[in-house]
């Protein structure tokens, strides 16, 4: 048995399989670049499914994210979203949501205003776009439609009573009920993933529709936890809505939920079909940036692999996905030991108040880049002309607090792919790429 690594040669290697990594792979394929993607499941699995651009600025909920981008440019010129032209952001966002829709995970077309989507807490979250399966919740909440929120015995962390207790005072038509999920009535713990997959079976949908119809009592809208299928949820949504005769919407659930699994599985199937060399659920162990090319080394369960690329796009996320590592004496980037912009010491990482509207300084830590999304050394020089970065790994943003994670991921992925393509030059980039 030989231990020789299996080798792949591509123009662009994307490291990371979160939103930024997948968006980058998608945009690169659309540009016609031969592309490889490597990444381990990280934070994407925990997403609510909302694609936000900029939801909160200075502790205030943002209504018009596009004008807020202008404000962001003035107040936080180092913010990744402040450094990309708004029309590029808009273009990238549209391309991305359109691509998802073509995969059967329809997203609302990004508009001029943020949508206000109900959360499982019974609060409302500002987001630019959300899955079509969740869209009717925004309208129902706005129009205070006669709505029944259904929860399920055994599905912990999702209480329809909680939604009604919190949203009800402003939404008098909101009611709740609890049902048993068909085929899962034995009282055990329910996972949204299992329920969602069961709803891909027509017979299960029919039974659930029957149970909901029996308690509908005139409601024109029905809210469910996010369980409407994993694969092509639009189909499940349409079918169940038809069977119910009422408008149906999902409310996100706490992890482990389905929104991230939907995206992960859709990308894992669709992108290789478009030519992507995908090494899923693995981490790059070594990355060498050479004069002629970049080399990625990794192992999958079968053995060693090498990917040779003309350019590398780093979209490895933050601490949760392993893109950044926090040691007691500082934050480092583990793959290349890139310089990490960070607060001076651990005591300055976090504020005392957890939910302070000012946010924690550590959330602004990350990789500093030039306008071509190339990581920079502390002296301002480019680390390597073949290296680009995208997503929440970048310094100067606070995606959780500002509700801008998807915006940062999609816009910087687009811009970084654009810059990488420019570096690779016309034609191919796998032999002698243009100097940067």
């Amino acid at each position: 048995m030989s231990g020789e690594p299996r080798r792949h040669r591509v123009q662009l290697a994307v490291i990371g399989s979160g939103l930024a990594g997948c968006a980058a792979a998608l945009f690169a394929l659309e540009r016609g670049l031969t592309t490889a993607q490597v990444g381990h499941s990280g934070a994407l699995a925990y997403t609510s499914g909302h694609l936000d651009l900029l939801g909160v600025l200075d502790g205030r909920v943002v209504d018009d994210p596009w004008s807020a981008l202008g404000e962001l440019q003035r107040r936080q010129p180092g913010h990744p979203l402040a450094r990309i032209a708004p029309e590029t952001v808009r273009h990238a966002f549209h391309r991305f949501t359109a691509a998802l829709s073509s995969l059967g995970i329809g997203y609302t077309t990004p508009g001029d205003r943020n949508l206000r989507a109900p959360t499982p807490a019974g609060t409302v979250k500002p987001t630019l776009s959300l899955p079509c399966t969740m869209a009717a919740g925004v309208t129902a909440a706005r129009e205070r439609s006669a709505t029944l929120v259904v929860d399920f015995a055994g599905l912990e962390g999702f209480s329809a009573r909680q939604l009604v207790a919190n949203l009800g005072p402003r939404w008098p038509g909101l009611r709740c009920t609890r049902l048993d999920f068909p085929g899962m009535e034995d009282g055990g713990v329910l996972y949204p993933e299992a329920m969602a997959r069961a709803l891909e079976v027509p017979a299960t949908r029919e039974r659930l529709a029957g149970r909901i119809r029996a308690v509908l009592e005139g409601a024109s809208c029905v809210g469910l936890p996010a369980i409407l299928g994993i694969h092509r949820p639009d189909r499940v949504h349409r079918a169940l809505q038809r069977a119910l005769g009422a408008t149906l919407f999902e409310v996100p659930t706490m992890p482990p939920g389905v929104a991230g699994i939907r995206l992960q599985e859709a990308f894992e199937q669709a992108l290789p079909a478009r030519g992507l060399t995908l090494v899923s659920r693995q981490k790059v162990t070594r990355l060498q940036l050479g004069k002629e090319e970049a080399t990625l080394q990794l192992h999958d369960s079968y053995g060693p692999l090498e990917i040779h690329a003309g350019a590398v796009l780093l979209a490895t996320g933050r601490f949760l996905s392993g893109g950044l590592v926090a040691d007691r004496d500082g934050i480092r980037e583990p793959l290349l030991d890139l310089p990490v912009q960070q607060p001076p010491g651990r005591d300055a990482w976090h504020r005392d108040d957890y939910l302070a509207p000012e946010g924690h300084p550590v959330n602004g830590a990350g990789i500093r880049c030039d306008r071509w999304l190339r990581p920079l050394n502390p002296d301002g020089r480019v680390v390597h002309p073949r290296l680009f970065a995208a997503g929440i790994l970048l310094a100067g943003q606070d995606w959780v607090r500002q509700r801008c994670g998807a915006g940062v991921a999609i816009a910087t992925a687009f811009a970084a792919v654009q810059a990488a393509a420019r570096h690779l030059g016309p034609g191919d980039g796998d032999s002698t790429p243009n100097p940067g």
């Binding site: 609060t123 601490f319 005591d347």
Partner: protein, 525 residues
């Protein structure tokens, strides 16, 4: 709008629901006396809950304070015998490493014998066989009968026993506002619920100030100047998993990070020791955490790479000018109300003795001649006290085999049935406990996620149960995660960092707990 003032009556009002206050209540109840116990927050919110949970053999004090050492030895033996369910009799070691003062180590055995503390010398090899986690540069070791004790369980058992004996009651969230002094005595005590603002008057024949580090301030409210305390802040750390079988003490004069105590499935490292101005403990700091660690890695090298899940701080009341860890009972004879007693100083291990001395005084003042029974009478195991033990809830859940009983806190595996039981057991006819009260009485929120997930699941459960009915439930959730964060903040590195990042994504991103109430709910523009 003024709220109507309720009035309650009792024979003895005890202020401060730490181990001492609850111990006084039980002691008096055993003499047939009805008490009320109040606390501005909840049980063991001060030094009682912010320590190692070390049931001292006394070895720690043989050099600095031989009297306290001997007291610890006697009380430790009593507690092991009378409250075994609160104690993990895991044993302990005193260990010296290269560079530690050899003279201190050399005299240790003799001093222990003088204080009556059984101790046995071990070779470094024997010590490492017993505790493989000990560092390489170990030079000498002694085995002593240290143990670990669960102060929350002690307090909950004290409360339950006192309630069973005389119907004595406990009122959390009842803050002392002032004393109504008449004729040189306390006529009644004025209180308020800091959350609802609701006032309460309590009439009592005797009043006990068992407020630990706050005792000086409380005594002054009653006009007593004689209570003088130094406030000493201590910060400790909790690891995600248990690193040693038994207690490990550094064999040298007490310093930072020199005691590691197992606490069920985790280990507790500490402590720092710093004079502070206020009994209101500031949260643990990064610097304190690092000081603990800098010292401790010599003792147990695995601490350098261990996952820490939180830090916590408490303020110990130290009698001014004493320098030691002894306690004092102030009868306020001549310096204050005739029916007030203040008990402070001391330590967890000696709480029973402190309660005994206090109850002796109070009973004498009330003309009750029943003797103290806490040195003979076993402390009954209370159902309400069991949930604080790591592993109890999941063991019980597993044995019951009821798959329809969902786990709400997955880290510590606390099922819904336990949360419901805590609700039943904690209620004194008052409102069912909220998320934080459940956390204090169980392992909810104490595991590696530090409330990231269980705050959401338990909140949803409490809405389902009707405990929460409006937006107040979210405010309680916010309060709970804020409180957890104070302890998490200084240990955020390594494996706890991704956990915290995920928590913030959940609490802000998914739940929107950071946005002001109502914002985002209405239409703008």
């Amino acid at each position: 709008m003024a709220m109507a003032e309720r009035t309650l009556e009792t024979e003895v009002l005890i202020i401060g629901a730490g181990v001492t206050g609850s111990g006084v209540m039980r002691d008096l109840a055993l003499r047939g006396i009805h008490c009320l116990l109040i606390d501005q927050g909840d049980i063991d919110a001060g030094a009682s809950g912010a320590n190692h949970g070390l049931l001292h053999s006394g070895g720690r004090y043989v050099v600095s304070d031989p009297a306290t050492a001997a007291e610890c030895r006697r009380e430790g033996e009593l507690l092991k015998r009378l409250a075994p369910h609160c104690v993990d009799d895991c044993g302990g070691l005193f260990v010296a490493f290269e560079g530690d003062d050899p003279d201190y180590a050399a005299g240790f055995g003799a001093r222990c014998r003088d204080a009556g503390i059984p101790c046995r010398p071990l070779t470094p090899a024997q010590a490492r066989e017993r505790e493989p986690a000990l560092g390489e540069r170990l030079v000498s070791a002694w085995a002593v009968p240290d143990a670990s004790v669960d102060p929350f369980r002690l307090t909950l058992c004290n409360l339950a026993h006192a309630r069973a004996l005389t119907g004595s009651g406990y009122l959390p969230h009842t803050r002392l506002e002032g004393f109504d002094l008449r004729h040189g005595a306390i006529h009644s005590v004025l209180c308020r619920d800091p959350r609802s603002g609701e006032p309460l008057r309590i009439r009592a024949r005797q009043v006990v100030n068992a407020t630990g580090a706050w005792a000086m301030a409380v005594a002054r409210m009653a006009g007593c100047r004689g209570v003088r305390l130094d406030c000493v802040k201590g910060t400790l750390l909790i690891t995600a998993s248990r690193l040693t079988h038994g207690v490990v003490n550094r064999l040298r004069p007490p310093a930072d990070g020199d005691i590691l105590v197992p606490g069920g499935s985790v280990s507790l490292l500490g402590t720092t020791s710093d004079r502070v101005d206020s009994p209101d403990a500031a949260p643990p700091t990064v610097a304190e955490v690092d000081r603990n660690l800098a010292e401790a890695v010599t003792m147990v090298p695995a601490l350098a790479d261990a996952r820490f899940i939180r830090a916590f701080s408490g303020v110990r009341p130290v009698l001014a000018g004493s320098g030691g860890r002894g306690f004092h009972l102030f009868d306020h004879d001549g310096d204050g109300p005739s029916n007030l007693a203040t008990i402070t100083g001391g330590k967890l291990t000696t709480f029973r003795l402190m309660a005994q001395r206090t109850a002796d005084l109070v009973a004498r003042r009330l003309g009750v001649d029943a003797p103290c029974r806490t040195a003979d009478e076993p402390l009954p195991e209370a159902e309400a006290g069991r949930w604080t033990e790591p592993g109890y809830a999941p063991r019980r859940w597993y044995a019951r085999g009821d798959t329809a009983d969902p786990i709400l806190c997955e880290c510590e595996m606390v099922p819904a049935s336990a949360v419901d039981a805590i609700g039943r057991q904690a209620g004194n006819g008052d409102a069912p406990p909220d998320l934080r009260a459940i956390g204090v009485r169980s392992r909810v929120g104490k595991g590696s996620c530090q409330g990231a997930f269980c705050s959401i699941r338990v909140t949803a459960h409490l809405y389902d149960r009707g405990v929460y009915r409006d937006r107040d439930g979210l405010a309680r959730a916010r309060e709970f995660v804020e409180h957890r964060f104070r302890g998490v903040r200084p240990v955020l590195w390594g494996a706890q960092m991704p956990q915290a990042e995920l928590a913030e994504a959940l609490h802000r991103g998914l739940m929107g707990l950071d946005l002001p109430d109502g914002d985002g709910n209405g239409e703008e523009g």
